[in-house]
Protein backbone atom coordinates (compact mmCIF):
# COMPACT_ATOMS: atom_id res chain seq x y z
CA UNK A 1 0.00 0.00 0.00
CA UNK A 2 1.44 3.32 -1.06
CA UNK A 3 1.65 6.10 1.47
CA UNK A 4 0.30 9.45 0.35
CA UNK A 5 3.78 10.87 0.86
CA UNK A 6 5.20 8.58 -1.81
CA UNK A 7 3.92 10.86 -4.55
CA UNK A 8 7.23 12.76 -4.26
CA UNK A 9 10.25 11.09 -5.74
CA UNK A 10 13.56 10.81 -3.93
CA UNK A 11 15.17 13.23 -6.36
CA UNK A 12 12.45 15.81 -5.75
CA UNK A 13 12.92 15.36 -2.02
CA UNK A 14 16.68 15.87 -2.38
CA UNK A 15 16.17 18.98 -4.52
CA UNK A 16 13.84 20.40 -1.92
CA UNK A 17 16.27 19.70 0.90
CA UNK A 18 19.15 21.20 -1.10
CA UNK A 19 17.26 24.44 -1.68
CA UNK A 20 16.25 24.63 1.99
CA UNK A 21 19.87 24.08 3.00
CA UNK A 22 21.10 26.81 0.61
CA UNK A 23 18.60 29.33 1.93
CA UNK A 24 19.45 28.44 5.50
CA UNK A 25 23.19 28.84 4.86
CA UNK A 26 22.57 32.26 3.31
CA UNK A 27 20.59 33.33 6.36
CA UNK A 28 23.45 32.14 8.57
CA UNK A 29 25.90 34.18 6.50
CA UNK A 30 23.67 37.19 6.98
CA UNK A 31 23.76 37.16 10.79
CA UNK A 32 24.46 40.67 12.00
CA UNK A 33 27.56 41.75 13.90
CA UNK A 34 25.72 42.18 17.19
CA UNK A 35 24.52 38.58 17.17
CA UNK A 36 27.95 37.27 16.22
CA UNK A 37 29.50 39.29 19.01
CA UNK A 38 27.07 37.88 21.55
CA UNK A 39 27.75 34.35 20.31
CA UNK A 40 31.47 34.94 20.66
CA UNK A 41 31.06 36.22 24.22
CA UNK A 42 28.89 33.23 25.10
CA UNK A 43 31.51 30.85 23.71
CA UNK A 44 34.32 32.51 25.65
CA UNK A 45 32.25 32.33 28.82
CA UNK A 46 31.63 28.62 28.31
CA UNK A 47 35.34 27.97 27.72
CA UNK A 48 36.30 30.02 30.78
CA UNK A 49 34.07 27.65 32.68
CA UNK A 50 36.21 24.77 31.41
CA UNK A 51 39.39 26.43 32.74
CA UNK A 52 37.97 27.03 36.19
CA UNK A 53 36.21 23.67 36.22
CA UNK A 54 39.29 21.69 35.19
CA UNK A 55 41.06 22.42 38.46
CA UNK A 56 37.97 21.56 40.42
CA UNK A 57 37.49 18.33 38.51
CA UNK A 58 41.10 17.26 39.06
CA UNK A 59 40.73 18.08 42.77
CA UNK A 60 37.34 16.42 42.92
CA UNK A 61 38.88 13.27 41.48
CA UNK A 62 40.98 12.91 44.62
CA UNK A 63 38.06 13.27 47.02
CA UNK A 64 36.83 9.64 46.84
CA UNK A 65 40.38 8.31 47.14
CA UNK A 66 41.08 10.56 50.11
CA UNK A 67 37.85 9.47 51.74
CA UNK A 68 38.65 5.79 51.30
CA UNK A 69 42.16 6.34 52.66
CA UNK A 70 40.87 8.21 55.71
CA UNK A 71 38.28 5.50 56.42
CA UNK A 72 40.95 2.80 56.10
CA UNK A 73 43.30 4.59 58.53
CA UNK A 74 40.47 5.09 61.00
CA UNK A 75 39.50 1.40 60.81
CA UNK A 76 43.12 0.29 61.31
CA UNK A 77 43.55 2.59 64.32
CA UNK A 78 40.33 1.31 65.85
CA UNK A 79 41.33 -2.32 65.30
CA UNK A 80 44.99 -2.22 66.37
CA UNK A 81 44.67 0.49 69.01
CA UNK A 82 41.94 -1.32 70.92
CA UNK A 83 43.31 -2.09 74.43
CA UNK A 84 43.22 -5.68 75.76
CA UNK A 85 40.20 -6.54 77.86
CA UNK A 86 42.33 -7.29 80.99
CA UNK A 87 43.86 -3.82 80.96
CA UNK A 88 40.56 -2.11 81.34
CA UNK A 89 40.23 -0.81 84.90
CA UNK A 90 36.98 -1.62 86.61
CA UNK A 91 34.91 1.38 87.43
CA UNK A 92 35.32 2.83 90.89
CA UNK A 93 32.93 1.36 93.39
CA UNK A 94 31.21 2.96 96.37
CA UNK A 95 33.66 1.13 98.67
CA UNK A 96 36.61 2.84 96.97
CA UNK A 97 35.08 6.21 97.69
CA UNK A 98 34.49 5.23 101.32
CA UNK A 99 38.15 4.34 101.70
CA UNK A 100 39.28 7.58 100.11
CA UNK A 101 36.97 9.65 102.27
CA UNK A 102 37.93 7.85 105.45
CA UNK A 103 39.84 10.12 107.87
CA UNK A 104 42.66 7.58 108.30
CA UNK A 105 43.10 7.33 104.59
CA UNK A 106 43.54 11.07 104.39
CA UNK A 107 46.25 10.88 107.04
CA UNK A 108 47.92 8.08 105.08
CA UNK A 109 47.87 10.16 101.91
CA UNK A 110 49.45 13.07 103.80
CA UNK A 111 52.30 10.79 105.02
CA UNK A 112 52.73 9.01 101.70
CA UNK A 113 56.40 10.00 101.49
CA UNK A 114 57.05 8.51 104.90
CA UNK A 115 55.43 5.19 104.01
CA UNK A 116 57.42 5.04 100.79
CA UNK A 117 60.66 5.50 102.76
CA UNK A 118 59.64 2.69 105.13
CA UNK A 119 58.97 0.36 102.17
CA UNK A 120 62.31 1.22 100.57
CA UNK A 121 64.16 0.76 103.85
CA UNK A 122 62.52 -2.60 104.42
CA UNK A 123 63.53 -3.78 100.94
CA UNK A 124 67.16 -2.62 101.45
CA UNK A 125 67.33 -4.37 104.83
CA UNK A 126 66.04 -7.60 103.39
CA UNK A 127 68.63 -7.41 100.60
CA UNK A 128 71.44 -6.87 103.16
CA UNK A 129 70.30 -9.88 105.18
CA UNK A 130 70.32 -12.06 102.09
CA UNK A 131 73.85 -10.79 101.14
Amino acid sequence: MKDRHDKFSDSEEQEFAAKAKRLFDESVQGLNAKTQSRLNRGRQRALADLESGAGFRSLAGWVPAAGIAAATVFAVVLWTGKPPVEEISPPATATDFEILLNEDSFEMLQDLEFYSWIDLDAELGAAANVG
Binding site: A20, L23, V28, T35, A46, D49, L50
Partner: protein, 202 residues
Protein backbone atom coordinates in the same frame (compact mmCIF):
# COMPACT_ATOMS: atom_id res chain seq x y z
CA UNK B 1 68.38 12.13 46.66
CA UNK B 2 68.42 11.20 43.02
CA UNK B 3 65.21 9.25 43.54
CA UNK B 4 63.60 12.38 44.99
CA UNK B 5 64.73 14.45 42.02
CA UNK B 6 63.28 11.80 39.74
CA UNK B 7 59.95 11.97 41.53
CA UNK B 8 59.86 15.76 41.16
CA UNK B 9 60.69 15.48 37.44
CA UNK B 10 57.96 12.93 36.94
CA UNK B 11 55.49 15.13 38.85
CA UNK B 12 56.36 18.21 36.78
CA UNK B 13 56.05 16.28 33.53
CA UNK B 14 52.66 14.94 34.57
CA UNK B 15 51.41 18.44 35.44
CA UNK B 16 52.71 19.80 32.15
CA UNK B 17 50.98 17.03 30.26
CA UNK B 18 47.71 17.72 32.08
CA UNK B 19 48.00 21.42 31.25
CA UNK B 20 48.77 20.71 27.60
CA UNK B 21 45.87 18.26 27.40
CA UNK B 22 43.48 20.83 28.92
CA UNK B 23 44.73 23.52 26.54
CA UNK B 24 44.39 21.18 23.58
CA UNK B 25 40.85 20.24 24.61
CA UNK B 26 39.95 23.90 25.10
CA UNK B 27 41.18 24.71 21.60
CA UNK B 28 39.21 21.78 20.19
CA UNK B 29 36.06 22.94 21.97
CA UNK B 30 36.62 26.51 20.80
CA UNK B 31 36.84 25.34 17.19
CA UNK B 32 33.79 23.13 17.56
CA UNK B 33 31.62 25.81 19.18
CA UNK B 34 32.77 28.49 16.73
CA UNK B 35 31.82 26.18 13.87
CA UNK B 36 28.38 25.28 15.18
CA UNK B 37 27.17 28.43 16.98
CA UNK B 38 25.87 30.41 13.99
CA UNK B 39 23.80 27.56 12.61
CA UNK B 40 22.62 26.76 16.13
CA UNK B 41 21.36 30.30 16.73
CA UNK B 42 19.34 30.21 13.49
CA UNK B 43 17.91 26.77 14.29
CA UNK B 44 16.93 27.89 17.78
CA UNK B 45 15.53 31.16 16.43
CA UNK B 46 13.35 29.39 13.88
CA UNK B 47 12.08 27.09 16.64
CA UNK B 48 11.19 29.72 19.24
CA UNK B 49 10.82 32.86 17.08
CA UNK B 50 12.88 35.08 19.36
CA UNK B 51 16.52 35.85 18.75
CA UNK B 52 17.38 36.99 22.29
CA UNK B 53 15.87 33.86 23.80
CA UNK B 54 17.61 31.80 21.15
CA UNK B 55 20.95 33.38 22.07
CA UNK B 56 20.38 32.48 25.71
CA UNK B 57 19.53 28.89 24.77
CA UNK B 58 22.65 28.54 22.62
CA UNK B 59 24.87 29.98 25.33
CA UNK B 60 23.37 27.63 27.93
CA UNK B 61 23.92 24.70 25.56
CA UNK B 62 27.57 25.72 25.16
CA UNK B 63 28.10 25.96 28.91
CA UNK B 64 26.39 22.62 29.60
CA UNK B 65 28.37 20.88 26.85
CA UNK B 66 31.66 22.21 28.21
CA UNK B 67 30.81 21.41 31.82
CA UNK B 68 29.40 17.96 31.22
CA UNK B 69 30.82 16.53 28.02
CA UNK B 70 34.22 18.19 27.48
CA UNK B 71 35.94 14.87 28.20
CA UNK B 72 33.87 12.96 25.65
CA UNK B 73 35.28 12.23 22.17
CA UNK B 74 34.87 15.28 19.93
CA UNK B 75 32.90 13.20 17.41
CA UNK B 76 30.08 13.00 19.97
CA UNK B 77 29.89 16.74 20.60
CA UNK B 78 27.55 17.64 17.72
CA UNK B 79 24.65 15.33 18.67
CA UNK B 80 25.20 16.08 22.36
CA UNK B 81 25.18 19.83 21.74
CA UNK B 82 21.98 19.66 19.72
CA UNK B 83 20.37 17.39 22.26
CA UNK B 84 21.00 20.00 24.95
CA UNK B 85 19.75 22.75 22.64
CA UNK B 86 16.59 20.86 21.65
CA UNK B 87 15.83 20.18 25.32
CA UNK B 88 16.15 23.92 25.91
CA UNK B 89 13.77 24.61 23.04
CA UNK B 90 11.21 22.15 24.42
CA UNK B 91 11.49 23.67 27.90
CA UNK B 92 10.95 27.10 26.35
CA UNK B 93 7.78 25.92 24.60
CA UNK B 94 6.49 24.37 27.83
CA UNK B 95 7.11 27.58 29.79
CA UNK B 96 5.49 29.61 27.01
CA UNK B 97 2.39 27.39 27.05
CA UNK B 98 2.04 27.73 30.83
CA UNK B 99 2.57 31.49 30.63
CA UNK B 100 -0.12 31.80 27.96
CA UNK B 101 -2.59 29.75 30.03
CA UNK B 102 -1.97 31.94 33.07
CA UNK B 103 -2.35 35.15 31.06
CA UNK B 104 -5.62 33.89 29.56
CA UNK B 105 -6.88 33.05 33.07
CA UNK B 106 -6.18 36.64 34.14
CA UNK B 107 -8.11 37.86 31.11
CA UNK B 108 -5.09 39.20 29.26
CA UNK B 109 -3.86 37.87 25.95
CA UNK B 110 -0.75 35.75 26.18
CA UNK B 111 2.41 36.41 24.26
CA UNK B 112 1.15 35.09 20.96
CA UNK B 113 3.96 33.80 18.82
CA UNK B 114 2.02 35.04 15.82
CA UNK B 115 3.08 38.56 16.83
CA UNK B 116 6.61 37.63 15.84
CA UNK B 117 7.75 39.91 13.05
CA UNK B 118 9.69 37.62 10.76
CA UNK B 119 10.70 40.48 8.46
CA UNK B 120 12.05 42.63 11.28
CA UNK B 121 13.95 39.72 12.76
CA UNK B 122 15.31 38.50 9.46
CA UNK B 123 19.08 38.60 9.13
CA UNK B 124 20.81 41.00 6.77
CA UNK B 125 21.83 39.05 3.70
CA UNK B 126 25.30 39.78 2.38
CA UNK B 127 27.08 39.49 -0.93
CA UNK B 128 24.04 39.26 -3.19
CA UNK B 129 22.18 41.55 -5.54
CA UNK B 130 19.02 43.20 -4.18
CA UNK B 131 16.86 40.97 -6.39
CA UNK B 132 18.60 37.86 -5.14
CA UNK B 133 18.34 39.10 -1.57
CA UNK B 134 14.65 39.73 -1.97
CA UNK B 135 13.99 36.39 -3.60
CA UNK B 136 16.06 34.41 -1.09
CA UNK B 137 14.72 36.40 1.83
CA UNK B 138 11.14 35.77 0.79
CA UNK B 139 11.79 32.08 0.21
CA UNK B 140 13.50 31.68 3.58
CA UNK B 141 10.72 33.54 5.37
CA UNK B 142 8.16 31.24 3.76
CA UNK B 143 10.21 28.22 4.79
CA UNK B 144 10.51 29.50 8.37
CA UNK B 145 6.77 30.05 8.64
CA UNK B 146 6.09 26.60 7.23
CA UNK B 147 8.59 25.07 9.66
CA UNK B 148 6.91 26.83 12.57
CA UNK B 149 3.62 25.16 11.64
CA UNK B 150 5.16 21.68 11.80
CA UNK B 151 4.89 19.47 14.89
CA UNK B 152 8.00 19.96 17.05
CA UNK B 153 9.57 16.56 16.41
CA UNK B 154 9.19 16.87 12.65
CA UNK B 155 10.74 20.34 12.76
CA UNK B 156 13.66 19.05 14.83
CA UNK B 157 14.29 16.13 12.49
CA UNK B 158 14.16 18.33 9.39
CA UNK B 159 16.45 21.04 10.75
CA UNK B 160 19.04 18.65 12.17
CA UNK B 161 19.12 16.53 9.01
CA UNK B 162 18.90 19.32 6.44
CA UNK B 163 20.38 22.45 8.05
CA UNK B 164 22.99 20.86 10.31
CA UNK B 165 23.66 17.93 8.01
CA UNK B 166 23.54 15.26 10.71
CA UNK B 167 23.10 11.67 9.56
CA UNK B 168 20.20 9.55 10.80
CA UNK B 169 22.15 8.05 13.72
CA UNK B 170 23.44 11.41 14.97
CA UNK B 171 19.97 12.95 14.59
CA UNK B 172 18.50 10.08 16.62
CA UNK B 173 21.11 10.69 19.32
CA UNK B 174 20.35 14.42 19.31
CA UNK B 175 16.59 13.87 19.48
CA UNK B 176 16.74 11.00 21.94
CA UNK B 177 14.70 8.64 19.76
CA UNK B 178 15.19 5.70 17.42
CA UNK B 179 16.58 6.00 13.90
CA UNK B 180 13.26 4.74 12.57
CA UNK B 181 11.44 7.61 14.28
CA UNK B 182 13.90 10.08 12.75
CA UNK B 183 13.22 8.73 9.27
CA UNK B 184 9.46 8.94 9.83
CA UNK B 185 9.57 12.48 11.26
CA UNK B 186 11.89 13.67 8.51
CA UNK B 187 9.85 12.18 5.70
CA UNK B 188 6.62 13.63 7.04
CA UNK B 189 8.29 17.01 7.53
CA UNK B 190 9.57 17.18 3.95
CA UNK B 191 6.22 16.27 2.50
CA UNK B 192 4.28 18.64 4.75
CA UNK B 193 6.66 21.48 3.87
CA UNK B 194 6.37 20.79 0.17
CA UNK B 195 2.61 20.78 0.38
CA UNK B 196 2.56 24.00 2.39
CA UNK B 197 5.07 25.87 0.25
CA UNK B 198 3.67 24.67 -3.05
CA UNK B 199 5.34 23.80 -6.31
CA UNK B 200 6.33 27.41 -7.09
CA UNK B 201 8.66 27.51 -4.09
CA UNK B 202 11.04 25.04 -5.73
Amino acid sequence: MSACAGEIAISCTSEDQTGVTTLHREQELDRFLAGVERRAIRIAEISIRDRDEALDLVQNAMIKLVRTYADRPSAEWTPLFYRILQNGVRDHHRRQAVRNRVMVWFGRPGNDDRDFDVIAAAPDPAGRTPDQQLESGEAMRSLELALQDLPGRQREAFMLRTFEGLDVAATAAAMGCSEGSVKTHYSRAVHSLRETLGEHWQ
